[in-house]
Symmetry: C2
Subunit: 430 residues, 2 copies
C-alpha cells in the first residue's frame, strides 16, 4: 500500500539506495508511481531520475511543469545531465548548462561529441591528476580533500595534458613525502580511448582490478575516467538489451508503459514475424495437393519445424555470446562451423531415428516414419549451419544479431523444415 511504500522509500533515501527507489518506482502502475514520486524530496529527485530506465523516467518528467523542471535541474552535475539530456526538453538542458561553471560546461560538451556506443560518452570528472614530476606529498594533499568515489589511483599527465602513468593510492600512502610519484607508477596501466566501444571498455574496467581507468582522446589527452560503477551499469544494460532484443523489445521498455505505446512498440515485431509466417505458409501452400492426399503430413508438420528451430537457436545463442565476448573471429569461424555442423549431424541422426520410429508406429506407416526422419535430419543440420552463418553475417554488417538473428533463423528452419518434409512426402508417399 502507498503509505508503506513511502516509508520504505524514506528508508532507501537515507541509505542513498537510489537504484532501489528507481526499481520500486518502475514497478508501480502509472498513477501510484506519480503519487509516490511526489512524496520524494526535491533534492533527491535527480539522483533517482539518473538511475531510472528511459521510458518510466519520461513518464515522470512528462507530468512536471517547465517551471518545476527548471527548479529541479538548476544544480545538476554535468555527468548527470549527460544521462538525462535525451529525456529533457532542449530548453531545460540549455538552462541547466547556463547554471554550470565554464569547466563543467566544457566537460558536458566533450561528452556530447561521442555517441552512446562510445566510451567517451560515459566518462566522469571525479579523478585526480598531477603533473608527471609531482611528489608523494602533492598526491597526499589531493587525497586529503573530499575525493570522489571509486578512486584507487592518481593519474600523471604531461604539460599538454597527455596521460603518462597511474600511481596506486595505496603506494602513495606508504611512501615518504619527497619520493617522485613517477618512481611508484604502475607498469602498463590500461587506458581507454574515447572512441572505443562502450561495452568493451566497460568490461575492460571490470576486469582491470582497478576502480576506474583513464579515458584519453585520439591525441592521448586525458579527458576523464570510466569508473567501475558506471562500467557495471553499461555492462548490465547491454545484457538486458540483448535479452529484451531477443523478443523484439527495447531495453527501456517500462513494466507499466501505457497500453497503447506498449502495444505499438511490440506491434512492429509481431508484424515482422507475421511476414515470415506468411512466407512459411506460402511454401506449405505449394504442397496443398500432397496434404490433401496425406493429411497425416499436416498433423506432423509442427514437429519438423520445431526441432529445427530449437537446434538452430542453441547454435545461434552460443555464437551470439561468442561474438559479444570477441571470441568468434575469422581465425576460428571455420572450425566453429564444422564443430556445430557435426553436433547437428549427431543430434540430427539420433532424433531422426527416435522420431521416425515413434511416427512409424503411431501411424502404422514405416514410409511416413522414413519421410519425417529424413526431414528432421536435414533441418537440424541446416539449422546448425545457419545458426553460425546468420549471426556472423549480421555482425559483419554491423547489425545486432541479438535482435534479428532469431527471426531470420526461424524463417529459414520453418521453410527448410516444411519444404523438406512435404517435398519428401510428395516424392515418397504419393
Amino acid at each position: 500500500t502507498l503509505p508503506d511504500q513511502e516509508i520504505l522509500i524514506g528508508k532507501m533515501l537515507v541509505q542513498r539506495d537510489f537504484e532501489d527507489v528507481a526499481l520500486l518506482l518502475e514497478s508501480l502502475p502509472l498513477e501510484q508511481r506519480l503519487e509516490t514520486w511526489n512524496s520524494i524530496p526535491v533534492d533527491k529527485r535527480i539522483d533517482v531520475l539518473v538511475v531510472m530506465r528511459r521510458d518510466p523516467r519520461e513518464s515522470l518528467l512528462e507530468e512536471m511543469s517547465l517551471n518545476d523542471l527548471d527548479a529541479l535541474f538548476e544544480n545538476i552535475e554535468p555527468d548527470e545531465l549527460v544521462e538525462l539530456s535525451e529525456s529533457l526538453p532542449t530548453r531545460i538542458v540549455a538552462r541547466a548548462l547556463q547554471a554550470m561553471d565554464s569547466k563543467q560546461q566544457k566537460f558536458f560538451e566533450v561528452t556530447q561529441q561521442y555517441a552512446d556506443e562510445h566510451a567517451g560518452r560515459w566518462i566522469n570528472q571525479g579523478f585526480l591528476t598531477l603533473p608527471q614530476n609531482a611528489k608523494v606529498r602533492d598526491a597526499l594533499r589531493l587525497l586529503r580533500r573530499d575525493i570522489a568515489k571509486y578512486i584507487d589511483a592518481v593519474f600523471l599527465v604531461d604539460r599538454l595534458g597527455h596521460f603518462i602513468a597511474a600511481v596506486r593510492v595505496s603506494a602513495v600512502i606508504g611512501a615518504p613525502d619527497h619520493v617522485p610519484l613517477s618512481d611508484l607508477d604502475e607498469d602498463d596501466f590500461a587506458t581507454i580511448t574515447a572512441e572505443d566501444d562502450a561495452f568493451d571498455s566497460a568490461l575492460k574496467v571490470q576486469k582491470s582490478g582497478f576502480s576506474a581507468l583513464p579515458v584519453i582522446n585520439a591525441k592521448g589527452v586525458l579527458i576523464g575516467r570510466l569508473d567501475i560503477g558506471t562500467a557495471s551499469e553499461i555492462v548490465n544494460e547491454d545484457y538486458e538489451r540483448k535479452m529484451m532484443a531477443s523478443a523484439g523489445m527495447d531495453e527501456d521498455e517500462d513494466l507499466f508503459s501505457p497500453v497503447i505505446s506498449s502495444a505499438k512498440n511490440r506491434a512492429v515485431w509481431l508484424g515482422i514475424n507475421l511476414l515470415t509466417a506468411f512466407a512459411a505458409s506460402w511454401f506449405i501452400g505449394l504442397f496443398e495437393a500432397t496434404l490433401q492426399q496425406v493429411v497425416t503430413l499436416a498433423v506432423l508438420m509442427p514437429i519438423v519445424a520445431s526441432m529445427g528451430g530449437i537446434a538452430g537457436s542453441q547454435t545461434l545463442t552460443l555464437v551470439i555470446r561468442g561474438l559479444a565476448l570477441g571470441q568468434v573471429s575469422t581465425a576460428n569461424r571455420k572450425a566453429l562451423l564444422s564443430k556445430e555442423v557435426r553436433v547437428g549431424g549427431l543430434n540430427g541422426v539420433i532424433w531422426a531415428l527416435v522420431i521416425g520410429i515413434v511416427v512409424a508406429f503411431w501411424f502404422s506407416s514405416p514410409l511416413i516414419g522414413l519421410v519425417i526422419s529424413l526431414a528432421i535430419l536435414m533441418n537440424i543440420v541446416s539449422a546448425a549451419f545457419v545458426g553460425v552463418l546468420i549471426p556472423v553475417a549480421l555482425d559483419k554488417l554491423k547489425l545486432d544479431p541479438a535482435l534479428s538473428g532469431s527471426v531470420i533463423l526461424t524463417t529459414v528452419t520453418d521453410i527448410v523444415g516444411f519444404v523438406a518434409f512435404l517435398g519428401l512426402g510428395a516424392l515418397i508417399l504419393t
Copy 2:
C-alpha cells in the same frame, strides 16, 4: 596462427589481462588450445584458470598429470581454490589445503559452508579490520602495508568480531592521527549476510558506490567481503546463464566442447521440446477429418501458432527481467497481468483484422478469414495471460523461469492456437 597467438598471449600476461588470455584460450579448438596453454609460464596458469569457464578449464586440467597438478596448486590462494575446487580431483584439493596456513584453511572451510548461490561462497579475505576504538593512526598503519585491490573503506569490529561500522579510506587520509575512527564512520553502511542470494548481493555491491561491502554471518560476525570485481563476475555470469538457459544450454558450455559431449548436453533440451511438439501434433490429430475437408487450414496453421508464440515471449521476457530485478511482486502482479492482457487484446484485435483480411482475399473465403481472425485474437490474449502467470508460478516454485519458461509458454500457445483455429474451422467451415 600459433606463434602470433603466443606473442599476443605474452603481451596479455605482461599486462596481467588474464581474462583476455582465458577468452582467447576458450576461442581455440581443442588441440590448438592445449598447445597454446603449454606455452604459458607455470606461475601464471592459476590466474588464467580461475577466470576460465568450467568446461574449457576442465578440458585443460584433464590433460595434466597428477604430479603437474600438484606442482601447480601448491601455492594457491584460498579464494582461488574456492573457484577451482569443483574442477579438481579431491586429492589435489586436499593437498593444496595442506600447503596453506591455518588461517587460510579456516577461510576456505568457511566459504565451503555456503552454496554457489549464496554470497558467502564468493567472499575474499583482502579487507582491513580494526577494533572499534582504533584511531586514525592505526588505520594509516594498516593502509601503508601492501593492501589488496578494491579497498576504499576500513571495517570496524567489536571484540567478538561483529561488524560495527565502516570508514572511508579518503576520510582517514584527511584526518588527524589521534581522531577515533568511530567519529568518521559512514551512516548506515550496507552489509551483506552470507546466506543472501549471490546475484542480489552482487548487484548491491555494484550499486553501493563502494568497491566492496562487508559480509557477515548469521550472528553478525564479519567473515569476509564481496568486492566489486567478484560482484561483476557474478552478475555477468548470471546474465550469460539466463541467455544460455533460454536455449536450454549451460553457462559453462564451451565454444569448442568435444562434439559428443556438446551433442549430449543439447539433446536433453531437444528431447523436452520434442515431447511438447508431439503434444501439439496429438491435438492437431484430433482434427484430421476437418483438415481433410479444408486443407487450407493446414496451410495457415503455423501463422496462428507463431503469432501467439511471439506475443507470449514478449510478455514472458518483460516479466522474467522484472522478476530478476525484484520488480514483480504480489503487490503489482494483478496490475501487471491486467496491463499485459490489455496490450495483448489491442495487438490481438489489430493483427486479427490484418490477418483476417489478407487471408480472406488470398483464399477468396471470408469465412476462413473470420476463423483465423478469431483464433489469432484468442491466442494472443491467452499468450499475454500465460506470459505473466508462467514465470510468476515458476519463480514461486523456486524454478528458473529463464530456463523452462519459454518451453512451457510455446506448448501452451501452440496448443491453444491449433485447437482454437482447427476447432473454429470445424464449427464454421464444415
